[in-house]
Amino acid sequence: MNAHVDKVRSRGFAMRNRWQNMPPQVRWVALAALIIFLYLLPNRWFYINLWYFRTMESDMATVLFETSFFVLLAVGLNVVVGFAGLLDLGYFGFFAVGAYTVALLTSPESRFGVEWPWLAAVPVAIAVTMLSGVILGGPTLRLRGDYLAIVTLGFAEMIRLYAARNEGIANGQRGIPQIPHPVPEIKGSDGQPWFGVVDARPYYWLTLTIIIFVILGVRNLTRSRVGRAWVAIREDEDAAQIMGVPTFKYKLWAFAIGAAVGGLSGALFAGKQSFINSDSFQLTNSILVLAAVILGGAGNIYGAVIGAFITWYLPEWVRGIGGVIGLDINVAEYRILIFGAVLIVMMIFRPQGILPSRRRAAEFADRREAAAPTEASA
């Protein structure tokens, strides 16, 4: 068993090394091809040729949009959980704060009644979410590991319970409808606003563009002093502090950045969905994003992307395939069940995720070796 696992592992490393060793031109071309592919994807004339890889039953563009904002969330949570090593169980709360801010500022139904255009509300949403990340992080980041997880969970639930009372500005379960779509001034070819109700493609493209920028930004961050500080904090916080790393400040940074990305994702979602209510704060959503990040490989941006893609796209795809075969499989209903199982299995066999960061993989290998003596005797 161990020999086999080691062989698979080394093959994985070998593939990775080959990729790194290819000349940069090849890597650039491949990346560009991938990006073009992603942009072309939601067009019907394109994906219809993808044989059975597309979603058969649901609208592909809509599923792609939902996957893309889930990917954005995963990238954001990856900063908090993967890079800084802070287990945040209430991440979806930031998404909800961003969406609610946009809703409150733009919808004619909100109690504020200010009715800004969507584009103006987005930066405010990001700012508010960052602020909430700092407010949440401030008192709680002094806690370690498990306690931090429970407190973030508690905070998220508290916000949900507060929002669920319909007397407040959040309007509870009835929510805030009629959030305007982004930029109604841009008109499509038929004179209707390009960001309309029916076509999900513009939203997908917008989110895709944002994802690319965010990934670039986060990547740069991880290669900077901030990123190195995060690694130090994750590996041994006390040692880092002794070495002069201002751990609290950088942990707060991680929280704030993660929150900002989450809020941005929420703003995008609100613009498409045109409705938000307190159910968005539910814990299961936070757990799904966490599962996606862990599944893909916490600490690796592309791992998070892959994890998110699998978490969201796959159930929809399976449902479509089921429809083609004639079976009525609604995998989406079993989604949480499957992901609970996936989490357990992943933690046992591949806790570093599908596409782990090099460092993480090394950490896990070290720990495994440390345990090896007892394993041999068991």
Binding site: V26, A33, F37, I48, N49, R165, Q173, V198, F275
Partner: protein
């Protein structure tokens, strides 16, 4: 170096081939098979939007059955030019509504929506239907404010809570003669609205409280109700929470009567609350009993659905679906045409006997509105009496 360059070019060439091939192939576009030839519009879809699974499914299922019955009968009589039902299961949850509504709007074959069944999801889905100009007739969403938003696609096949609420209040005052009434609502668009209307008639209740949809532990509310000495409890909300609340109330020794609205008016309420606990509960509905529907509706319904009794609003759903079907038969193949057809409609429904005529804001003609009180007796919901207007 040359090898690597060659590999790079090879990669580009393959990529180009793939994309070129993909782009060259003109994608298959779903041809529009619009009805050609005969006068009637063929192959169109009528959507049913409501809770078919989940805590409030009991209500949605009966309405969907009414719609299905109408469509199936139509298809039997018009075998060469049929209509199709499309089900949008929102679970009564406003959070699920937008995605489904968007789906309905983008499907050009969907010519009308029966629903949304609940007021909360209507608040969310109707703006989307409006933007797609997709006509809707709801058999059950009773929140009064829905007709004030200026949605031309909105139509209501029953009276709203401005009739139901006060009627329930009058029943509490005149028939039950309850002095101390406690009011609880579930903060939903429907429940809160209905509770507000009831309070306008009964005056200040001896106490009020709010619960949540999907709440299961009502011990705090139960304590307050018991200690307030209330002999009647009005609950604005849906049957699962109502049932659990009543069960816990009776478990704590409360002897009073619960009165609730159409959202609780379903056989599942008795299952959740327990037969003994539910006995004597009063349920209102801005509808006549579906089990006394006219014509062959009841027998047809039982024959089609496994001998089940038609539930609340099944007959309304049947009649309003027939409005749309008659429009199809008359050749209305576009949403705009169907919308004008509905607005101009003025005929009596076969099952309910109500004359369907919609006002400018989509409300049913006020002279046609009736409110009935039902009672839970011996484990079943039976009609009690029609509540007179004021």
């Amino acid at each position: 170096m040359r090898q690597k360059l060659a590999r790079a070019f090879g990669g580009i060439a393959i990529a180009a081939l793939v994309f070129g091939g993909a782009a060259c192939q003109a994608g298959d576009d779903d041809g529009d098979d619009g009805g050609s030839g005969s006068n009637a519009a063929c192959g169109m879809k009528i959507g049913f939007f409501g809770a078919l699974t989940g805590d409030a499914a009991g209500l949605g299922i009966h309405m969907r059955n009414g719609t299905k019955l109408a469509i199936d009968q139509y298809n039997k009589d018009n075998a060469d030019c049929t209509a199709e039902i499309v089900e949008y299961d929102s679970q009564g949850d406003p959070a699920k509504a937008p995605a489904l509504a968007t789906q309905a709007v983008s499907d050009q074959k969907v010519i009308a929506i029966i629903g949304p069944a609940f007021s909360g999801e209507s608040e969310v889905a109707d703006p989307i239907f409006q933007s797609g100009n997709l006509p809707t007739i709801t058999p059950s969403a009773t929140r009064p404010s829905l007709s004030t938003k200026g949605w031309s696609v909105f139509h209501r096949g029953v009276g709203n809570d401005e009739s139901q609420g006060p009627a329930a209040g009058r029943y509490i005052k005149n028939v039950l003669k309850a002095e101390k009434v406690y009011v609880v609502d579930d903060q939903s668009a429907y429940g809160a609205g209905l509770a507000d209307e009831v309070k306008k008639v009964i005056g200040t209740p001896v106490g009020e409280d709010k619960v949540q949809v999907k709440q299961t532990n009502f011990s705090a509310v139960v304590t307050k109700i018991r200690n307030s000495g209330a002999t009647a409890l009005f609950y604005g909300g849906y049957y699962t929470e109502a049932g659990l609340l009543l069960k816990q109330l009776k478990g704590a020794g409360w002897q009073g009567t619960m009165i609730a609205g159409d959202g609780v008016n379903d056989a599942n309420f008795i299952t959740v609350a327990g037969q003994q606990n539910a006995e004597g509960t009063i349920l209102t509905c801005p509808c006549a009993p579906a089990t006394s529907a006219k014509g062959t509706f009841v027998t047809d319904y039982k024959a089609a659905f496994d001998n089940a009794e038609p539930g609340t609003y099944a007959d309304v759903s049947y009649d309003i679906t027939k409005i749309v079907l008659e429009g199809l038969k008359d050749g209305k193949a576009t949403r705009a045409d169907m919308l004008s057809w509905i607005k101009a409609y003025n005929k009596a429904g076969a099952a309910t006997g109500v004359t369907y005529k919609f006002e400018g804001n989509g409300e049913l003609d006020p002279t046609q509105v009736i409110v009935w009180a039902f009672k839970v007796q011996a484990g079943k919901v039976v009609p009690d009496v029609e509540i007179p207007k004021a």
